[in-house]
Homo-oligomer: 145 residues x 4
């Protein structure tokens, strides 16, 4: 289940020229990188920096990605990438996303990604409790599958 | 509906070091680029080079991407990217994909992408008949929505 | 010659996970994208958005890139990318760069890029005067080769 | 000094759409990835797969990159990336490159990259003799600084 506070993180960045393609728009794979940056930022905004999870010996590996492209984005735009948790289980987490223009509010892309917690040796593992607590914004919270 | 011959294209390429990430594996966004290269190759294998469609004044814009990551891939592997058409309508096309190791046959990623035919001005348009015919491998074939 | 005010722009951004490689560090090609973002920001900081130059019918095409990698950067770092103009001529411009850690001040990469002004048809052209003026921070300034 | 046989490796690949930018051409950072793929292929062509060097506990870290962009490349082209060794020392190696169109032979980019051999702990080290021998194409060859 999602965190009870339904927290939505928000990070802003300009489109980089390298992220565009010959159609003159942001390439669809660049948006997949934006989704990742959005969830990196979600974790930082929750004081749960992903770099710290890695230091603890874990990864949140990507099991599935789904993105819908509603409107093209272009160089010159500043984008807002929003991220929230759709589902948090003991061994997995699903993030939801929305990427919009920071000025016009036009939504460019929506998406979801599903992640499994694994050790650095590749074994499925429980997400460390400190990280679950931080991610869900509930100090002392318990999240079981 | 898919082409009656159920043609599956296949292209091979080595993992590039730039495509890996700090987990030591191919980054999930790199696979989205592989899917694109797989459908580029599908078109070439059908004598329907995407560059030609662009010259005719059209694009197949990406409306939706879905990828499932079954097993990590690493630098040093040669991958095989298979692509086929799951659905071909008058204004849209859905490609299916499978990316495997060329030696072990292990499947790394499966996916689907949905595309809309648009003009260079961004208007939804019918896929040119010559291209439908080529894509579906049926000379003189008719594909209506 | 460089602008008389020796203006140095500065933009900050976190390392994105996608930008790392299997060595666990930021891939060297990702830094080339950072250099581009640094000069995009230089132009914005001078009220000379590159998107505007493109609308005027010009590009600053990359003729040469030179980068020296002094120290590896990692996911979790926030970088500062500094950019300045080393040389500004009627038809070309050379940017200088320095990319450092925002906290430790450690310099990761230094570089230079040389650009030629071309029209959208690919012909070498004079950089529009309005843009020269803005880039050099001298309203009414004259820059001849 | 360079290998006495002046071996030049050659690998071919189509431009990927993701590698283009809004100018309609291959983005300059994509060529940096092509250079890397060219030297990966050089090693494979010498039976000195870089993946093997990594398994031995070493990396060839990038210390410097220099690229000159002579002519733009576009989606639809098949490129040839040539790579050779300009200099091979006990602890470092310099590769030279040329990327051309496979049909017209037009040269798009030339470049050089300088690499230092380091251990996985980041210490400068001698390039393992087996690898020097393979890279230089001289079985039993000796290469000292």
């Amino acid at each position: 289940m999602p965190p009870t506070d339904r927290f939505v993180s928000e990070t802003r960045f300009p489109v980089r020229y390298a992220e565009t393609d010959a159609m003159g728009i942001v390439h669809h794979a660049s948006f997949i990188v934006y989704l990742e940056e959005a969830r990196s930022h979600y974790a930082r905004a929750r004081n749960a920096d992903y770099a710290t999870l890695i230091e603890m010996g874990y990864y949140l590996t990507v099991a599935e990605i789904h993105a819908r492209y509603a409107a093209p984005a272009r160089y010159g735009q500043v984008l807002v990438a929003r991220c929230w948790i759709d589902d948090l289980k003991s061994r997995s987490v699903t993030f939801g996303y929305e990427i919009a223009d920071s000025q016009t509010k036009l939504i460019h892309v929506t998406g979801q990604s599903h992640h499994i917690c694994i050790t650095h040796q590749g074994q499925v593992a429980r997400i460390p409790q400190a990280w679950v607590t931080a991610l869900s914004g509930q100090h002392g919270a318990d999240s079981t599958e």
